[in-house]
Amino acid sequence: MLNLGLLSFGAPWALAAAAALPLVWLLLRLTPPAVKQIHFPAVRLLFDLDPTQRTSAHTPPWLIILRIGLLALALLGLSEPVINFNRAEKSGPLVVVIDTGWGAATHWEQRMRVLRDLLETADRRGDQAVVITTDMASVGEETDTHLSPARDALARVSHIAPQPWPTDRVHAAAQVKALTLKTAGRTVWISDGVDTDGSADLAAALSSIGPLTVIDSGTLPSALIVYPPERKLAAGTENASSNVDVKVGRVGADKYPAAIHTVRAIDDQGQVLGHATATFGSGATTATAHMPIPSELANQIARFDIEGVTTAAATALMDDRWQRRPVGIASATATGIRAPLLENAYYLKKALAPFADVRAGDLDALFERPLAVLIMADGGRILDAEQKRLTDWVSNGGMLVRFAGPGLEGNVDPLLPVKLRNGDRALGGSMSWTTPASLAPFPEASPFKGLLVPDDVTVTTQVLAEPASDLQKRTWALLKDGTPLVTARTIGHGWVVLFHVSATPEWSKLPLSGLFVDMLRRVVDISHGLDTGGSADDSEGVLAPRSIIDAFGRLGAPNATVGAIAAATFDEKQPSPATPPGLYGPRGATRALNLSAHLDNPHALPGFSMGVTHASFDAVVHEQALKPWLLVIALLLLLGDLIVSYFLRRLIPERGLAKVGVAASVLVLLLMGAHPVHAAEGTRRGEIDAAAKAAILDTRLAYIGTGAPDLDRVANAGLDALTELLSARTAAEFAAPAKIDLAGVTDADGLIPYPLIYWRITSNFRVPPDKALAAVNMYLHRGGLVIFDAPDQVGALGGGGSGTVTQRLDELLRKLDIPPVVTLSDDHVLNRSFYLTRGLPGRYVNAPVMVERASAANDGASSVVIGGNDWVSAWAKDASGAPLYAAVPGGEAQREQAFRAGVNMVMYALTGNYKSDQVHLPAIMERLTQ
């Protein structure tokens, strides 16, 4: 080892080769560039050129300097220079213990740098080394630690990472004691500064091997801890908000001065919802941050952490007990909603949606998952069977909110806050002298205190409470005349709240006002959430890991070694490799296992006496080896020389230079564009097929293939003629009709593009597969129009005149979900959607035509036309434009009527019941009477 001030050389003999550099210089100077041969007719003119003007064939000087520099750099690199070589470092086996507990996550980069520097220094001296972590060993995992060359130990360093649980120094001390060293070694302990069991033991074990150096973060900020906060309602504030007090702790307070940290509240998308400062006094171990935050934002908080600190201890995950309060709206008729705006729960859902998870359904469905608040909006009595369950739930911390209604009077059941009088009170009605009552300011004790009472909220009908001594205490809101509007009572840990009006605007304007939203928000806020509100079987459940955090506070998927935790013992579980901190349990009822919740005021590692050196990170000399850098620069110079040589030898012509540039940029773009190309492939896979594209890009009529080619031809010709007529007479310009093969239809996507589908039923008709029938059903429900044409006349195509076609039609219609049908009446919209027609004549006129009975669905427009007039045969024309079939009995006049019927059907499919609007009635009536 050759030492020259800061610079030291590991292999100085390589520098001796530099003596050959002048020789290389000479050789380079003398070697002329290569000759290129060119055939040239005017070569005679090139003979005897003036030799004095010939320039030297020598290599240009700058190129020589480049090449010499290249060689010099390579030689310098091979001599293994090291900057900052620590000459004081003695040699001998090196034992390093590195703490990998939660505390080590702070300044982890520096810890790893120290570890690498130690090992690289040992490697440079040819020493052996071993690295022991204070990791909590997983079950059944036995770490094998023995001395190995420092280079091998260095290779394994990258596997070391901090863990989000405490250290296990007892195990580490045992490992140190198991080491057998031939000579006296040096020992280093890279400590996280947190005292745990076995610290002294470990220090003693290390000291027994050789002189111990304890390296810790020194004067750098210590590990911070964010304790999961409790949630409290901020009373008396103008707008509903929560005040969250976040307690923050730190390790080793006596070493540190006062400090200020910013605590942040973050939602599950990573957005910062709020922040507050926590100020540590000098020497204080804890500080508290007061964070006022609106309730609806507080519900979204997924974690608290400290700005600029990413460790597991400084991250407090919030689970569903903290987050949104699930609100259940119980309704007797959970399904079959007919008129949404008149539904009891509509205003409740609208009001709760901004800040709560709202679920609706019957009680059984609601209690399948934990609930914070249950709202019963029906105003009826609670069945005896349900009373027991609800009472248990409320006394366990649930909040039951009830609304009055016609059926709620008297003491119907015990789950009411107050006794009610029989009958309700109507104000401002035709039989009453009083005007509708408005609200009084909220009482002091009410959770609604501070909410502004608008003047326009009036109550016309309410249920009245029986006067009682404690009625005043139980009242949360009153009217101006002093009658209670909202009353509440505690049962066990929970609440029963009664709104003396209904949840719809029938009794009062309250559900229409913004005050309703605020009141419900306050009600939900004071509910306990889910921590005690879970149903009894929760404690028997097992909470599977959902997502876990690593030592740096990052959420990730749990790996296979993470086990589930029994719900009953969840609170006692310590963070460990088997149960890492994170979220456990099903969605909607997750529990957070926070590292900080189990760190009870950790102590700083005490100083060790007796021959133990304490140092900080920067005490370790960082030796910088220059070899790789020098060799890389030499390699780059070599590449540059290669390119320069090519230019000098004109192997790359000027014109070629552009090509080279283009090729290089294309190559770069290709490399960069590898991902987009993938993406493009991905979209290509989802391409729609040509038939669907044709159906979507142009509107067109469609018919269902019958399997009989001649019939399909007629249907095609008929719809084609109708399409032509439509574009001539109406604004509907369609593309050529399409044929649908029902055997290939698997979902409604293939049918939905068509406004109208013509379905010809024949005597040898086969019922299509179930998937196709389901698709047709879907098409009908989504507002499509299907024309079933089943001509049963003698001589009709595909028929037989024996009633078989009608039988087949019945067979089909039974399988389809067709609403009730009626005979087409003369005033049906189909008869006046474009032309004024009577019936829907086709090739025949006598077959009955059925349409759907008018109903609320689909705006009353019929989704089917069922008939047998063989319309397409009346429309069909051959190539020369001559009709294919005679219309009986009316001849050409009837054919015109058939076309008009076709136009009407298409218009009906396109516009629905537009023509039945009364707006057009006078004009239509006028024309009808003319």
């Binding site: 000759v35 060119i38 040239f40 007719p41 005017a42 070569v43 005679r44 003119l45 050129l49 030297s56």
Partner: protein
């Protein structure tokens, strides 16, 4: 001898020549000579002589035949006038196209070889002259010459011969002008198309023989653009195409100025030889369209600036 290849090459050259010639007005349809173009094979020679076309009136002098007196003009004045007619005669043009190895050079695959361009120009000129009723003699590379001929078939024969020479060179000597054994008619015109890169002395010696015959002459130097600019660089070994030898230039970019100067001197020498004999001298580059040079050549051939 590959007769098929020769046929094809000949056909190709003629097609090109037709294209070049078609773009120019036929010789005698040019505006200046439109009056004399009527007579096949004969056109005015811009001096008094035997002919059909009026040339000038001049005062009677002794020796003029009385039949020559124009009585109408003489009646108008006191002086007796003689009507002179313009001398009319068919012209013979001898054409030579250099097909030596050095003419087969082209600096880039995009450019035609010099020989091809020279052949095209020769044939186009022949075509135009034949159209104008002139007589053509083709001088071949080994000094032979056909009899003076006219008629469209001649052009095809010339094309065949030149194509044969290009495909299978018959010349044994370098690109100096061959000694033409045939005795060319007096007052005929000779058109020589070559790169004229042989040493100046050789060229001068060859031309002297033709000049002594009292012929009108036109030189067309066909050069590749690379020969004009020497666009090479770096260390290059230049090899001749006619066994002239080779030379190594270390830095061609530095030698370029000298080369261009030498080429200019060579061309000046050619020009002065031509000018001394009253011949015209044209330069054509293969990267340019042949029409420009052809137009200049026509003007010279039909201009009779002797």
């Amino acid at each position: 001898m590959n007769a098929v290849a020769r046929r094809e090459e000949s056909h190709r050259l003629r097609l090109q020549a037709d294209a070049v010639a078609g773009a120019l007005p036929p010789l005698l349809v040019s505006a200046r000579n439109i009056a004399v173009s009527v007579t096949l094979g004969m056109h005015g020679r811009r001096r008094a002589g035997v002919g059909d076309t009026f040339w000038q009136f001049r005062q009677y002098s002794t020796g003029d035949t009385p039949q020559g007196i124009d009585w109408r003009q003489s009646g108008k004045r006191d002086v007796v006038f003689v009507r002179e007619r313009e001398l009319m005669a068919a012209q013979t043009a001898a054409l030579w196209c250099d097909t030596s190895p050095s003419m087969r050079y082209s600096s880039s695959p995009k450019l035609p070889p010099k020989a091809e361009r020279a052949a095209v120009m020769t044939l186009a000129l022949a075509e135009l002259l034949i159209d104008g009723g002139e007589r053509i003699i083709h001088l071949t590379g080994n000094g032979d010459s056909a009899r003076a001929a006219s008629g469209r078939t001649v052009v095809g024969q010339i094309a065949d011969v030149i194509a044969g020479e290009i495909i299978e060179p018959t010349t044994t000597h370098a690109s100096a002008i061959p000694k033409f054994s045939a005795r060319l008619p007096r007052h005929s015109t000779v058109v020589l198309i070559s790169d004229f890169l042989a040493p100046l002395e050789e060229i001068t010696a060859s031309l002297k023989g033709l000049i002594r015959m009292g012929l009108a002459g036109h030189l067309v130097q066909v050069l590749d653009p690379a020969e004009e600019t020497l666009p090479f660089s770096g260390r290059v070994r230049f090899v001749g195409l006619e066994r002239e030898g080779a030379t190594i230039i270390d830095r061609t970019e530095d030698a370029r100025a000298q080369y261009i100067a030498k080429l200019a001197a060579h061309r000046e020498g050619l020009k002065s030889v031509a000018a001394a004999a009253g011949w015209s001298f044209h330069v054509h580059h293969t990267d340019r369209s042949p029409q420009m040079t052809m137009a200049a050549l026509h003007n010279a051939v039909t201009g009779y600036r002797r």
